[in-house]
Symmetry: C2
Subunit: 333 residues, 2 copies
């Protein structure tokens, strides 16, 4: 053990599982990416067995290199029963709902296993060796297909009431009452505006509406219609960069609504720092000016001059690093 101990860390997504060997300094020694469909889409036990096999490969690697594996940390989207180490509700992998993935995998590997919500894992990573490493109280946000979030108070992840199974779900706070329908079934959530799925919904609605309600119409509307099945945040960001007023307006609204959501959390908690990550945060230059303007307009209690909004410094490794951090703090004395 000692300085040679490592953790196996996993980031379990809807289509891919990434697994890594990570040491106590946050150095990634080995990283593999596997497709979920290699395992099973329907049978949770076959899926867990496949993850176990991939973990055993990493354990063999660690052994060869002279490292001792202290345990496994997995970041998973959804609601989690921390006491049972079970997934209560997973939007991406519904066949895992109710399954005690931690104890199943632990039995297979003969190693302790801990699971954590993926946005919480993001927060653990950024707080450990990322943008928030010197902060006590802050909000973490991941902008991707949806919007994830976490809250860190007194340097500790706030996990919510133990009966709730979640916390930090800023993506499902209502920002525009009666607004755009969200994936969760509600209307006007942050996620329906400031995520890839939210952007896509707005474009689809505007195409169906023949751009009638757009104040800023696209320069080449046919481009969106031709690519209707392939609208991505990346494509919209590229359109914004070349000056398309429509894509720019979408990101302006993205930043405005995100600014209101962040202001609401700051005002509720009396905090003023946030880290933003996730794939869609790559469109930073497109949404940050309107985000900043919105924070100025909507934060009345917080001194605007104190506010710090940082981009994730760990990029797509944040959740993986955080899951390792979770394993170290759970299993190392």
């Amino acid at each position: 053990m000692g300085r040679n101990s490592v953790a196996i860390s996993g980031d379990v997504g809807g289509t891919h599982v990434r697994l890594a060997l990570i040491d106590k300094n946050g150095t990634i020694l080995s990283l593999v990416k596997r497709q979920v469909k290699e395992a099973s889409k329907d049978d949770p036990y076959a899926f867990i067995k496949a993850v176990g096999t991939w973990c055993k490969d990493l354990m063999a690697n660690a052994d060869q290199a002279g490292f001792g594996v202290i345990g496994v940390g997995l970041g998973v989207a959804g609601k989690i029963d921390y006491e049972r180490g079970a997934i209560l509700f997973s939007p991406n992998l519904p066949h895992l709902n109710g399954v005690s993935i931690a104890s199943e995998l632990s039995g297979d590997l003969d190693l302790p296993v801990v699971i954590e919500n993926d946005a919480n894992a993001f927060g653990l990573g950024e707080g450990w060796i990322g943008s928030a490493r010197d902060w006590e109280n802050w909000l973490g946000i991941t902008l991707g297909t949806g919007v994830g979030g976490c809250i860190v108070l007194n340097g500790e992840l706030w996990r919510g009431d133990k009966d709730a199974g979640f916390s930090g779900e800023i993506g499902h706070t209502t920002i525009v009452p009666g607004g755009m329908p969200c994936n969760c079934g509600k209307k006007g959530c942050l996620e329906a505006y400031a995520s890839e799925s939210g952007l896509k919904k707005h474009v689809m609605a505007d195409i169906q509406d023949e751009w009638k309600n757009c104040v800023f119409k696209p320069t080449y509307p046919d481009y969106y219609i031709a690519n209707v099945n392939n609208i991505t945040a990346k494509m919209l960001f590229e359109q914004a960069q070349v000056g398309d007023p429509y894509a720019r307006a979408l990101f302006d609204r993205f930043g405005e609504i995100l600014g209101i959501a962040i202001s609401n959390v700051f005002t509720t908690l009396g905090i003023f720092r946030a880290v933003i990550g996730g794939g869609v945060s790559n469109a930073w230059s497109a949404f940050f000016p309107s985000l900043e303007k919105s924070l100025r307009e909507h934060c009345s209690m917080v001194d605007f001059s104190k506010i710090v909004i940082s981009k994730s410094s760990l990029g797509d490794k944040a959740a993986l690093l955080g899951a390792a951090r979770c394993a170290f703090s759970s299993f190392e004395p």
Copy 2:
């Protein structure tokens, strides 16, 4: 000391100061109410001196009855510098801004003095011997002229980042972007809908607008016009009780907007319990049905069946009791 110890507790409002002697069980042994104008509206030191004189009367009472006063706890609206015991910003008593009221009063009385935000004091009271006494994680809301709030996590008041000077300001979260102007200078805050000043603003706007934008017009519009300088939450509640569709619609919106604000806090923190107090909570029967409907519509992550919204059980004594609690926990070993 021991079982005979008491605290002096104060609730410092814009027009009145209430002071009480309260024992360790939360029994109010003595209560006085003084007008701020008896002291001074302009000179903060004259005001503090007057409060000191009123405290000395209570100290004499305590002495006669054989009690030992352990210290003073004061609940005050506004932003507070907890380290200095100073008021950073008081909306009701602006002449106190920047004044170290705790050390001034402490020097005068030769007793330790602690100050606390009034909504936090409400929370300390309700958590001690009120509706939330068995809860670990919850949201407190005071509905009055404005809307105050507090957050209790792991049974402790969450005071926010120490550089922020506030927390729990749910009243200034934005619920209706671009909506009714709020006292804080922003638009669409909860306070602009679910407080006495918010209700009043809506009536004034509708009168000026000659009721044009009201879907539910008043049965006797002249009644509101005749009482234009005397619109109160109590008067509107009475109108709602006699079936005036306009007053009912105002309270329906009040409940709806309050429900969105509470849902947002629940979703952000992964909690599901709240206590609502303050004078305007007396209109409970007028706004609670729409509040409940709104929670059902806007809480997607929290199981609706777990949600508990309780009315304050301490009524207008909550903040006074909480300020005493604050003194006991600050000054008793």
